[in-house]
Amino acid sequence: MDEKLKVELGKQGIFTTTLQELYNWGRRNSLWPLNFGLACCAIEMIATTMARYDLARFGAEVFRPSPRQADLMIVAGTITKKMAPQVVRLYNQMAEPKYVISMGACAISGGPFKQGYNVLKGIDRYIPVDVHIPGCPPRPEALIDAFITLQKQIDEQQLTGVGRPRHLDPDAPSEFIVPQFGPHDLEPPQNPDVWRPPLVNISLAGKNESGND
């Protein structure tokens, strides 16, 4: 429908919408997160739901303890290699449509604990991530911002065609391989269907001097 006409009709008290808008509106405003924290960032996640920041304003206060009832996984904290299989399993258990916010430096890349032998260097090695929030820990405002970003992303999605959401595409996978414990490391160390190391020019990196207090 023509945008102008729609606005005009709205002024006359006639509300029109499309199925797509209605559908996205519903998805966007009822993101139920999984009640699931991994480390320090989880405390900030809890703080976000509490009195001062009040995540409920964005329709996302219903933290569900079971992945079957949740739409959104907030990966809040360091994913250790011992925990990674359970995180992937929880993701697999969630019903579509499902989204992932990777909260904090650890969930993005390992963060301060990157050099740990038991630390997974980013959850996107195993599952697809919709929004990354940098910070260590990100402030509650940042988490709220990530929420709004995710809501915008959902709002803009076309229900048909190439860019359609994964759950409307019968060929797109909704479960991913769960890594196994190996004798030295996880097997496989990453899921090549989800993540391939981007080629970076390492020689250009590291120009910044470290050690600033």
Partner: protein
């Protein structure tokens, strides 16, 4: 509330091995379970509702803090200590700073000692409120008590933020002093928060201490005897809840704690209720310490002038420094070989040691009590697994 909400619970009924007619049900609670506040798992065997076996499983947050610290400089490890017990970054800083100070024989200026006491006791306040909030949340009072607790916590976090620049990861102390002095008006602001705190405690107590449900769920539940507590190395409010008078602030008199008058609250029965009560009373004592410290804080430098933070190389040797963190005895054991990095860096985690008696406290209780007992231990997984 019961273990059936555990998302990853695997129910594998097994025939009872002890020849009884009942069947033992083995439940894996965690590592994703709303009551474990993180990634902790218990393998529980149940006879009906009764717990007959409980084995804690650790390591889901083992992020190699100790190994990384061996490759970092002494100063470089300070921000990592924030992330041990992430509710109480400042006391972690303190314990580490104390260990390094012992290792290198550093004296801390007067004003810095006062700042340490002030920030450390504020940390204790916000930790204990949050823990009580979490305990109540686990007990099923979802929402209100935790909301109240976090409302107060935010006030303390505001103070931390204006002093250190960060809400949670304060990275505030340095060996030889503190990183930043109080900004203008901070002390008055802090005084206001501290003066108002007892009122919040009164409110909390009115709401909770005499509450019938709370008493029914906590009194006589998760009893820890004095003897076991000492043998198992339990420290902190949990130990004192069992009636053992051992507070490192009094025993070691580290820093300037001997200048303040405060009492050490002790429990009698060693159950969940006593631990809850000890925490509440400890907060009142902390308020007293804070009032005295804020009254007396002297002017002066906040860093020892002789200590070089960069390129810091203590002589070869070792030191163990410990403090009374809100969770219990937090110790750092450092070995220097004269190089800029510690040769060995060890954290003595109160949370891990306090968790070891979980099975003893849970045996014979109902499965729903596990959650309450767990909440009364006050552990943070960043510190348990490091």
């Amino acid at each position: 509330m019961s273990a059936t909400t555990a998302a990853t619970a695997h129910f594998t009924p097994k025939p009872s091995t002890d020849g009884g007619e009942g069947q033992l049900l083995e439940v894996s609670m965690g590592p994703q379970h709303p009551s474990t506040h993180g990634v902790f798992r218990m393998d529980v065997a149940l006879d009906g509702e009764r717990v007959v076996k409980l084995k804690p499983v650790f390591g889901y947050l083992h992020r190699n803090h100790e190994k990384i610290a061996e490759t970092e400089t002494y100063l470089g490890s300070m921000p990592y200590t924030d992330r041990l017990d992430y509710l109480c970054s400042i006391t972690n800083n303190w314990a580490y700073a104390l260990a390094v100070e012992k290792l290198a024989g550093i004296q801390v200026p007067e004003r810095a000692e006062y700042l340490r006491v002030i920030t450390g006791e504020l940390t204790r306040l916000q930790n204990h409120t949050s823990v009580i909030g979490f305990l109540l949340q686990d007990m099923g009072a979802s929402g209100t008590p935790l909301m109240y607790a976090f409302r107060e916590r935010e006030k303390v976090l505001d103070l931390f933020e204006s002093l250190t620049g960060s809400r949670m990861m304060c990275n505030y102390m340095r060996f030889g002093g503190c990183r930043a002095d109080m900004p203008a008006g901070w002390l008055q602001q802090a005084q206001k928060v501290v003066e108002a705190f007892p009122r919040f405690l009164d409110e909390f107590e009115r709401l909770l201490s005499g509450n019938e449900i709370l008493m029914a769920r906590t009194q006589g539940v998760g009893v820890l005897s004095k003897e076991l507590a000492v043998d198992a190395g339990i420290t902190g409010p949990m130990l004192r809840g069992s009636g053992v008078n051992y507070d490192i602030r009094k025993v070691d008199k580290y820093g300037i704690y001997e200048r303040f008058s405060f009492k050490v609250p002790l429990g009698e029965h060693g159950d969940v209720y006593d631990r809850y009560m000890v925490r509440l009373l400890e907060m009142r004592e902390s308020v007293k310490i804070l009032q005295q410290a804020m009254r007396d804080v002297p002017p002066g430098p906040i860093m020892d002038a002789k200590t070089k933070l960069r390129g810091f190389r203590p002589k070869a040797g070792e030191a163990y420094g410990r403090i009374e963190s809100p969770k219990g005895e937090l110790g750092f054991y450092l070995i220097s070989d004269g190089s800029p990095n510690p040769y060995r860096y060890r954290v003595r985690p109160p949370s891990l040691v306090n968790l070891t008696v979980l099975e003893d406290m849970c045996l014979g209780q109902n499965v729903a009590d596990i959650v309450v007992i767990l909440g009364s231990i006050d552990f943070i997984l960043g510190e348990v697994d490091r």
